[in-house]
């Protein structure tokens, strides 16, 4: 079962993890991305390509379901403005055993970074700047 959502609303971790556990899995793995306050960053703003983003995330989830024996995949991404400490992204995978769940979770966050149309802007007080894509993210995605 696949759950994908792009939403300005906060991500409710406990509810999402419980839903994955209820799929009869022996193991649930997850990754949560949180806004860092490095270098004076006070907030992040996420823009996306409505329509394409949902398709890109569903396609990633389906690829993970095909590659590993998963009982469930959840991909949630917030859009809009987020303050330091708030959750940006949640990936959860449920499988019979830990290896499938952990590997699929790592795959999904690595590939989400390069395969889904989101753009991040950092705010430092009143100043905003677009975040540049990093080669290390492209390399991480390519290893799969």
């Amino acid at each position: 079962m696949i759950r994908v959502s792009i939403d300005p609303a906060p991500i409710e971790l406990a509810m999402e993890l419980s839903a994955l556990e209820e799929r009869g899995a022996g193991g649930v793995a997850s990754f949560t991305g949180v806004v860092r306050g490095d270098g004076g960053v006070t907030a992040l703003e996420l823009e996306h390509y409505p329509g394409m983003t949902e398709d890109a995330l569903c396609m990633l989830a389906e690829q993970a379901m095909d590659r590993w024996s998963l009982l469930g995949v959840t991909i949630l991404h917030r859009v809009g403005r987020m303050e330091v400490g708030e959750r940006i992204v949640f990936i959860g995978t449920a499988a019979a055993h830990r290896r499938e769940a952990l590997d699929a979770c790592a795959y999904l966050i690595d590939r989400l970074k390069t395969d889904a149309p989101f753009w991040k802007r950092e705010w430092r007080g009143e100043d905003a700047s677009w975040v540049e894509a990093r080669q290390s993210d492209a390399d991480a995605a390519a290893q799969w």
Binding site: G33, L46, E47, H48, Y49, G51, M52, D55, H77, I88, V89, I109, L112, K113, T114, D115, A116, P117, F118, W119, K120, R121, W130, V131, E132, A133, D137
Partner: protein
């Protein structure tokens, strides 16, 4: 065709969406970028350096040398930075 712009490309052009009918000589995404750069000072700024741009045709990522072949929707944007 419908053109969509995101992030700093949208800001430089000044709008997120427009409809344009490029001349027949514009055959690929790269040629579309070249043609768009002549359309206004904002377009010129956004499309000055194709190396900084990525594209999607009908909501699929494509390389810039991809033929437009009757594309309905073309999106132009910087490399993605989600997650």
């Amino acid at each position: 065709m419908d053109l969509l712009y995101f992030a700093w490309v949208r800001e430089a052009v000044g709008i997120g969406q427009e409809q344009r009918d490029p001349p027949a000589a514009v055959g690929t995404v790269a040629e579309l970028i070249g043609w768009l750069s002549t359309q206004s000072p904002g377009h010129a700024e956004a499309f000055a350096d194709p190396a900084k741009l990525r594209a999607a045709i009908d909501q699929r990522f494509v390389p810039l040398d991809t033929p437009l072949n009757g594309a309905k929707e073309v999106a132009l944007f910087p490399p993605v930075t989600g997650g």
